[in-house]
Symmetry: C2
Subunit: 173 residues, 2 copies
């Protein structure tokens, strides 16, 4: 059972909120999936950046205040990791996921600041069966995250390999 | 002073190993920068994935053994974060970095497995002064990471904003 609701003026596509077991065949281009929200604290921003992206505007609020963003902002990789968590919980289920070869056009239009809440949406833009591996399909997804002010903080086109529904897999795999 | 050394058959471009203060003007298309190496343990792979990408093949060695990669592999976002750390330490210095609007064509051709050592290289592919903001330039960089077997585990085209050398900045900023 798939349910839809309206996300309002900014995110006004039908959005799937039911997250049962799905396979490649269940993802239809044009369908958007609500992937929930996540908040991020200053401590988390600094902790992630100290480990992976220790630029002053990610780790030092004092220096960041006079830096290019006028304050501390999250590493774009931290934003991407937070968005990924939402996708794992709400988008391709583990029964079907065969990993990702990568993604295209990743952008961080607005920075993520301490206390921000990010809402994540995934929209299927393309889905085709693999010609070489009949047990799977290749799906392209427009991933978007907006903050509590409706500003886009990340977008990307993700590529994923997904299993086809077992009874439709003629490969015998 | 910029020094070069030869990385051998696979990575045979001249590679900059000196990492002093540099500005936009110092990055010349065609030049490659050695960004050092990083190793990753099973415990780190599982810890990162539990927090950000808890798919079975990233968090559970037992389940992963029968999964699509035949064993535990790092989240692509973990790989990206590890690569970012190398770039921060070896590529655009903090004096010049004005952040990044995003990146294109990110790919994870081969998986990263526990115990792997990744070698990171950054090659300038394009550099142009900003028309709207005279204090900066826009640089595109081919980022590559290879494992100890010479297999590429990540590549992407990164976009960065960098300050021009202060004495060349006619904006008075």
């Amino acid at each position: 059972m798939i349910s839809f609701r309206n996300l309002g003026d900014d995110w006004d596509n039908p959005v799937v909120t039911d997250h049962g077991v799905r396979y490649f065949d269940d993802y239809l281009p044009g369908t958007s999936y609500d992937c929930g929200s996540v908040s991020v604290s200053e401590a988390e921003i600094i902790s992630f950046a100290r480990r992976f992206d220790p630029q002053p505007f990610h780790v030092d609020p004092g220096v960041a205040a006079g830096g290019p963003f006028g304050g501390l902002v999250a590493s774009g990789w931290h934003t991407a990791a937070l968005v990924m968590r939402q996708l794992v919980e709400h988008y391709p289920p583990e029964e079907a996921s065969l990993g990702s070869p990568g993604l295209d056009e990743m952008r961080w239009p607005d920075p993520v600041r301490p206390g921000d809440t990010l809402r994540v949406r995934a929209s299927v833009v393309e889905a085709r069966r693999s010609l070489s591996k009949p047990d799977r399909g290749i799906m392209k997804t427009a991933v978007e995250a907006v903050n509590q002010h409706g500003r886009t903080v990340m977008r990307a086109t993700a590529i994923n390999f997904l299993r086809v529904r077992p009874e439709l897999d003629a490969s015998g795999a």
